[in-house]
């Protein structure tokens, strides 16, 4: 039997097809070294800055970045303005305790009732360090995906219209994060 005959014999073709199928399955399950997923849990200014510096930096390096916002970080994406209508008393209370607007974000250390925050803002502007709104603008332009934990939103009574305007924002549950995290080589918790 010559080589050409061997290649086209039904047994060999079937076995090759099986092996290709297995390889395809394997490669599908291999984490992408060029993808990074992040859980953003904290709502403090310093931690949000760190999260967005890493996210925009990674995206600038050509990586696919997806951020999953949960708990205090979800509330931190609220814009300033009045609360949405139709909330329960407890949901309204959450709204008062977690005001929207990036200028309201505290520091996790040295906030000193807002003095530290203002000093930090002044130093950042003096030293030309990008502010949180600037980093979020860059994140938009770089196509960074933001997923919002729907459970956090309903728990704290946050409505979609209360959040910042962001093009690639989706509302989802933990399964979405698990899928994205398992298909990326790096996952960070901030």
């Amino acid at each position: 039997m010559n080589t050409a005959d061997r290649m086209t014999s039904p047994d060999v073709v079937a076995s090759l097809e099986r092996r290709i199928e297995e390889l395809e399955k394997k490669s599908k399950n291999t984490p992408d070294a060029n993808a990074i997923s992040m859980i953003v849990f904290s709502g403090e200014l310093d931690k949000l800055l760190a999260a967005f510096v890493i996210a925009t930096g990674a995206a600038a390096c050509g990586m696919k970045v997806s951020m999953f916002f949960t708990f205090w970080a979800t509330a931190a994406l609220k814009k300033s303005g009045p609360q949405a209508k139709g909330k329960s008393i407890v949901e309204r209370m959450f709204g008062w305790m977690l005001p929207g607007g990036f200028d309201k974000r505290k520091l996790s250390k040295m906030d000193m009732c807002g003095i530290g925050r203002r000093m930090m803002a002044r130093e950042m502007s003096k030293k030309n360090v990008a502010s949180l709104p600037e980093l979020i603008e860059a994140a938009k332009e770089l196509g960074i995906e933001i997923n919002i934990c729907e459970m956090s939103m309903s728990l704290m009574g946050i409505r979609a219209e209360e959040l910042i305007d962001y093009p690639d924002m989706e509302y989802c549950g933990v399964a979405r994060f698990v899928e994205q995290s398992s298909s990326s080589n790096t996952t960070l918790f901030i």
Binding site: V53, T56, G57, A60, C61, K127, A130, A138, L142
Partner: protein, 80 residues
């Protein structure tokens, strides 16, 4: 030796220099060279890592003067 096209990144702090470079890449053709001038001390190592990660070529990096001067060549195949 500098290239015709120059981008001024002075004053910008991490991660904005590489964010700006990424935006610039969309305007350039593959193989095109440009000069980036930066003042952020982190840019010295960051531009190397950025090039390694994105596949663009760092033709030259000069840190002898006040500002960092990097000559970068965009990689051939269109990826951005």
């Amino acid at each position: 030796m500098t290239t015709e096209r120059q981008v001024d990144l002075t004053g910008l702090k991490c991660p904005m220099p590489i964010v700006q470079l990424t935006k610039l890449m969309k305007e350039l053709r593959g193989g095109e060279e440009f000069t980036a001038i930066a003042s952020d001390p982190a840019f010295c190592l960051d531009v190397k890592s950025w090039c390694n990660k994105t596949g663009h070529e760092l033709v030259r990096l000069d840190s002898s003067s006040e500002h960092l001067v990097a000559v970068i060549r965009k990689r051939k195949e269109e990826s951005n």
